[in-house]
Amino acid sequence: MEKEDAGVILELRDITKSYDNVSVLKGITLSVREGDFVTLLGSSGCGKTTILRIIAGLTEPDGGQVLLEGRDMCGSPPEKRNVNTVFQSYALFPHMTVFQNVAYALKIRGVDKREIERRVMDSLAMVQMEGSAKKTPAMLSGGQRQRIAIARSLINRPKVLLLDEPLGALDLQLRRQMQYELKKLQKNLGTTFIYVTHDQEEAINMSDRIVLLRDGRIEQQGTPNEIYDRPRTSYAAQFVGSANVLHGDAVRIEDGRVLLRSMNGTMLARTDALPLREGDALTLAVRGENIGIGREPKEGTCVRGVVEGNTFAGGMLRIPVRLEDGTEVVITRQGIHFDFAAGETVYLDWPPEAAVLVDREAKP
């Protein structure tokens, strides 16, 4: 929002691609503003890597256009595009030293030797790898290779840097650290990053914008907050922030909230100015941390279920509750203290602002 005036650097128009008659991309239209950190988020097979390869020029789309700074890139080979890629496997040249790897792009362009030396060392300093210039990739750890791959792809000062799950092979702790460093690097350089990941946490932590992909189509795009707070579909709600999805019929609509009824009980949701009518079948998404739990029903706007147990993971307690219609709702709490026993009947409720209506377009 603060970058509203920044220009569009990259535009995809109705990109389609199939492999062996299987459609991988079904019309991707997307514009990326200069300096943004954009994440293509989705599960494996959603087409996110293919999009990256098409932007890089490593794969030709079947249809559609790729515009870089307004110029159509179609048919232009990867070496002619001012876009660089950090590959998932790092793709460091095993027969070259770290220095030679990073210097490669400059050498091709015939840059003067001393200039190469200076820029490579600057680049290595940028990723804190000055000491490893003479090593070969085989001598480096995963995290170090990662840094070299980034230094190598940034040496040409590309307009856009493409990163294909660059942190996928690293362990959790190193990943967190690298997330932070990458984000800082991107802010300092002001380079546009297009980042592919299947990890929603990574996407939320790093991105200015998230493009959620599903099955070769864009499911939703927006800032992390937008997608987190106002998922438009149940898929988006579940993928980003693992929300609970519940169904019900609209009973009453007033003051920007709607009352829904289902066999589990009654529920409230905010309407977000959607055109609703009483009797509509609706779907709402609500996150586990916003769900209240009690032994007594609350003012008639709650659903009833049975506690199934609880598990502790990642600093959070997850409490699955089975509703009357068989739906499982997962409630999350900080810490490990929980007063309810498995098998106990409980009543769940949430403030209407915490529940968002989804799948409005998809409903017939």
Binding site: P77, E79, T85, Q88, A91, L92, H95, P137, A138
Partner: protein, 261 residues
């Protein structure tokens, strides 16, 4: 620790290896024998090495074998390497069949190859001699290079070459900077193996060599049927030394090209 040294496996390996080297050792030892017949030791002498160097027919055969080995190995290196690179990229329907056909020469007994080439070259009215020898040898050298390079190419991460393109290299540049250096050890191994096979071949050569040209194995074979002089022993000793040197070189190359992701 000490006890393990006398384990059965070690003993077995040592014994079989020893037997393997027995005939070679005998040949080498008798190359320094004064006597003409390899039956009794008559004292140390280098006379057979001198005779060998003066034996123009044998030296010529040696020279021919080296030239033949180099030529067929060079042709095989080009055709086999290019073939492996191309085959990795194409998806023709004929690919499987062509792969089978092109490796057939090392799958079939040599005798068939020799016989078939002899008949075919007479059909084409090719003059028997260098052309026929080189074609025949190239045919069984190609599979070694092809299979070696193919195996190496499979082991190379595809995105490595893409990364070079991405960093600004043209397809040709990426090939020469990245792919070629990475497959070079495989090409070299294939070449060494090809050369060894070509240099050692009797069966196929006998059929296609013609009347005037002789390779070393053919010469040795004829001598062995009529009567061997210890010159052959001397030659063997020299060749053995060359093989050991080549092996050391090849393992050095291999270790240099051995880095994997």
């Amino acid at each position: 620790m000490k006890k393990r040294r006398f384990s059965f496996p070690a003993l077995y390996l040592a014994l079989v290896t020893l037997i393997t080297y027995l005939p070679i050792a005998v040949v080498v030892i008798f190359s320094f024998n004064e006597a003409k017949l390899p039956v009794a030791w008559k004292g140390f002498s280098l006379r057979w090495y001198e005779t060998l160097l003066r034996d123009t027919a044998l030296m010529e055969a040696l020279r021919n074998s080296i030239l033949l080995g180099l030529a067929s190995c060079a042709f095989a290196a080009v055709i086999g390497t290019l073939g492996a690179i191309g085959m990795a990229r194409v998806h023709f329907k004929s690919k499987g069949m062509m792969e089978y056909l092109s490796t057939l020469p090392i799958m079939l007994p040599e005798i068939i190859l020799g016989m078939v080439f002899m008949a075919f070259f007479s059909l084409l009215r090719l003059p028997f001699g260098w052309p026929t020898l080189i074609i025949a040898h190239t045919s069984f050298c190609i599979p070694y290079v092809y299979l070696m390079v193919k195996a190496r190419l499979v082991g190379i991460d595809k995105s490595i070459e893409e990364a070079a393109r991405d960093l600004g290299a043209s397809p040709a540049r990426a090939f020469f900077d990245i792919t070629l250096p990475l497959i070079l050890p495989a090409v070299a191994s294939g070449c060494i193996l090809s050369f060894a096979m070509s240099f050692d071949d009797v069966v196929i050569s006998i059929f296609v060599t013609g009347a005037t040209l002789s390779t070393l194995p053919i010469k040795v074979y004829t001598q062995m049927r009529t009567g061997v002089t210890p010159e052959i022993n001397a030659l063997c000793t020299i060749l053995l030394t060359a093989v050991i040197a080549a092996m050391l070189l090849s393992s050095a190359l291999r270790r240099r090209g051995g880095h994997r992701e």
